[in-house]
Amino acid sequence: MSKDIIIEHAVKRYGNLTIIPDLSAQIRNSELFTLLGPSGCGKTTLLRMIAGFNSIEGGTISFSGQVINKIPAHKRNIGMVFQDYAIFPHLTVEQNIRYGLKEHKVPKPEADARVESIMKLTKIDIYRDRLPENLSGGQQQRVALARAIAIHPDVLLMDEPLCNLDAKLRVEMRGVIRDIQKEIGITTVYVTHDQEEALAISDRIAVMNRGEIQQIASPHTIYTRPYNLFVADFIGHSGFAYAQLKGKGPVRTLDFGNGYSVEMDNIKADAPEGRVIVGIRPEEFCVSKDPSRGFKSHISKSTYLGKYVIYFVDIKGVECPKGEDDAEDVFEISQDLGTATSLLKVGDDVSFEVYPHKINVFDAASGVSLIEGTSHEE
């Protein structure tokens, strides 16, 4: 029933405007696969190509070996959950769920059984006779999900299903979606621009930008070992600094040019010496025990967040790539209050070191990671 999805060299064009130039990906059977990226990156476009609502201008998309390019949307046997739920407002909850079963000519006894079990699964059986306007956002979302999975689709497509819900409900519902997806084991393509949601829910994530997939990997890999600068910048808060990669052999030196350098033993063997960009996340810093070592820094601002504190620090003598948004030379450093012994103060001058095994190093020209074992697709 559940199928895998193979996308090969898919192209999407609107007139002369190319949204997706050449995209390939393999979505495994039964996995929850997330398309994550900034708005306008083509993630919804790709989802709608899979659904059949957007035409495919080149390449192929196939479900378990069957090319679906020419199959119209209503014959693809997909389940789709929309951003605004798209519940039929003139039908009751139960009628909404039955709609697809009727279209698929499911015999009455089986349809009844399915409706019952799905309403139980999604916990909406008590609202069965209500009209959608009398349901909350979360309940409507459950109806949308129930309606989509009732037809036993080959693949389930979800287009930012949680973005109209409030923060607390969003967290609750993503758990619900994850649990139900695992229970029925259906191949799911999930579109979101919310990285936290993507990390929490996915088996694998495809990070997209400008119609191209930047990296496909598990949430853990995406976060800890981004394949390129875009992914490193898009996921989490990374600070970036220029450095020189020096030496040959298994252990290399990363020289930040301000008197601080670290030894790296996980750089790709074929990485050339020269200028690189280092991505450092807030939690990859620690206060130096020996103040003469590390980045000489000045704390300019701090934000207290309960579990931890974020310090905004100016690091002396580092050269930073000019980003598009962030103030160029300010780094974020977090201090976990579970283990911290003392807080730092705004105005303090402190030295910070980095954890060499955690930081990421990218080629300055291509932006691709130089860390051993990183790959575009995993």
Partner: protein, 567 residues
């Protein structure tokens, strides 16, 4: 798998061809049908009109003579200024009257507001020429009121005929349009906006000038445009009480119907002058309005306040007087329908004489009005829903040209449309002149926009995802449209359809050109009796027409459970 990039070039052609064949689906057929109708009944007639204006009636040769005649004589060119004077005069006065009434009824508690609202709708419920002839009955040379003043008081009232009378009739007919549009917009103003403005130091009076007026200005301008266009296109009123005050629609009608023999080409030339004029004005105003448009969404609705003192008295006098005067024609018609008549004069005793004399006319013309009206409204709804869908959901360079359908009746007045259709369909291959079909076509073209506008508006409120959801659940595109989108559109479509219906059964100016003895409608029958001076007979037929309109409105309001009527 490996060769996919190699075969891409070949495949893409095949893909495109296959996609094209598959593309011949329900919506392609709908698009095709809509465009064929569009070309046949809008583009071709317009083109024909353009050509006819430049041809000689006798010889059929190309000529500028028609225009030379028109622009060469003050007799004709004056009509342009007369039409503009009516347009400007009516528009300015209705905007002031209608906006003030909307303000009073929206912001203040006026006792009997519901009654006033019903009366306002009532005042709209008949063709304006019925208003014109009612005022002639009352204030004409031998009118009831005129006679009363002359006999009992020796006072001679100012004449109703000419510019003043036309403006009076049209103002009383159309201030209600401004009222309905503007009060609709005022209701959408969020109280918080006014409170915010007050908190920033605006006095209540300044609030009106600085907040309310600018917020409803786009609506006022849009409504004013409608009133302007309708009043310069109005034929019946000018014909009945204009007398020497010639306006363009009357000239066109006279040239075409010909007291001294028909000159279709000269009529076409005058029509072209008028179409050019209205088109320029329309697009100029549209340009101004578009630059000022914004959307409002009210969260906290305005709660009407109590009004007391001198202000209160003035507000009451104003609203009741205006509404009261505007329904006088309706009551005059009903009243006189039941009066005994002698020749063209009314006697003071009651009887059903007028009805019994007109019985067969009423039955026949009512049957025509209803059958043509029903056929037209069904087609209007179907076309409006499809055109709305194409222009909203399948928007591209081709379908966006469909927008002209909404503009068309604004620019082309009823008599011009009638002439255009006759010019095109009075000879083979498609002879429609004298048939019911040609009247129905005119109805559809003239009254489609009401339904189309409401269909477009409702469609914007329905998420396209709803239909896609149905498709993803296995419905074919057309099934998804009918089962979901169409079903959801229905309430909105009907709001416009009732307006189309009411204006269809009251249509006069195109019918008057297109009718024959066998296709006479109620409004044409009224007009015919009025021009013969049989005011009693006219009143009897007109009251049947008014009753039809009133029943339609009541059925609509009851069946949709709407509390009030809004545009």
């Amino acid at each position: 798998m490996k060769s996919s990039s190699l075969s891409l070039g070949k495949g893409s052609f095949k893909d495109r061809f296959y996609g094209w064949v598959q593309g011949i689906n329900f919506w392609s057929v709908v698009t095709l049908v809509v465009f064929v109708l569009f070309a046949l009944f809008l583009v071709y007639p317009l083109f024909k009109l353009l050509i006819s204006g430049f041809k000689d009636t006798e010889t059929g040769a190309w000529t500028l003579e028609n225009f030379r005649t028109f622009f060469g004589k003050k007799y004709y060119t004056n009509a342009i200024w007369h039409s503009l004077a009516i347009g400007v005069g009516v528009t300015l006065i209705t905007v002031v009257l209608g906006t003030l009434l909307a303000y009073i009824l929206t912001f203040y508690e006026i006792k009997g507001k519901k009654v006033l609202q019903v009366l306002i709708i009532f005042s709209m419920m008949s063709p304006s020429f019925i208003g014109a002839y009612s005022w002639v009955i009352l204030l004409g040379r031998s009118g009831i009121v005129t006679q009363f003043f002359a006999d009992k008081m020796g006072v001679s009232l100012p004449t109703i005929y000419g510019l003043g009378g036309i403006i009076l009739v049209l103002v009383l007919k159309m201030y209600s349009n401004i009222y309905l549009y503007v009060s609709g917009a005022m209701k959408k103003i969020d109280t918080s906006l006014l409170e915010a403005s007050r908190s920033l130091g605006c006095s209540p009076v300044k609030n009106v000038v600085k907040m309310i007026v600018p917020l409803v200005l786009p609506t006022i301008l849009a409504a004013a445009l409608m009133v302007f266009m309708t009043s310069i296109a109005d034929f019946g009123t000018a014909m009945l009480i204009g007398e020497g005050y010639r306006v363009l629609p009357v000239l066109i009608y006279r040239a075409f119907m010909g007291e001294n023999g028909s000159d279709a080409n000269f009529a076409a030339a005058i029509a072209l002058v008028m179409v050019t004029l209205t088109a320029c004005l329309y697009f100029l105003q549209k340009f101004i309005i578009n630059r000022k448009s914004f959307r409002m969404r009210s969260v906290k609705r305005i709660v009407p306040k109590k009004i007391i003192g001198v202000k209160g008295v003035l507000a009451y006098v104003y609203s009741y007087l205006l509404v009261g005067i505007s329904v006088i024609p309706q009551f005059t018609v009903i009243y006189t329908a039941f009066l005994k008549t002698k020749g063209t004069r009314f006697l003071s005793s009651f009887s059903l004489e007028s009805f019994s004399k007109m019985k067969s006319t009423i039955i026949k013309s009512a049957a025509h009005t209803y059958t043509y009206g029903i056929v037209a409204i069904v087609l209007i709804v179907i076309i409006a829903v499809f055109v709305a869908y194409l222009s909203v959901r399948k928007r591209n360079a081709l379908t966006s040209t469909l927008d002209i359908v909404t503009v068309f009746p604004y620019i082309i007045s009823g008599s011009i449309l009638g002439i255009m259709l006759l010019l095109c369909f009075n000879k083979k291959p498609l002879v429609l002149s004298g048939t019911a079909a040609i009247i129905i076509i005119a109805f559809i073209i003239r009254r489609l926009p009401h339904t189309l506008r409401s269909s477009v508006a409702i469609l914007y409120q329905i998420s396209p995802n709803t239909e896609e959801a149905a498709i993803s659940l296995g419905s074919s595109p057309q099934k998804a449209f009918f089962k979901v989108t169409f079903r959801l559109m229905l309430s909105g479509v009907l709001t416009g359809a009732i307006l189309s219906w009411v204006t269809v059964i009251n249509e006069l100016s195109a019918s008057l050109i297109l009718y024959t003895g066998r296709t006479k409608t109620l409004s044409v029958a009224v007009y015919e009796q009025v021009t013969r001076g049989n005011y009693g007979n006219a009143a009897a037929i007109a009251s049947v027409l008014m009753l039809s309109t009133a029943i339609s409105m009541i059925v609509f309001l009851v069946s949709t459970r709407k509390k009030e009527f809004s545009l």
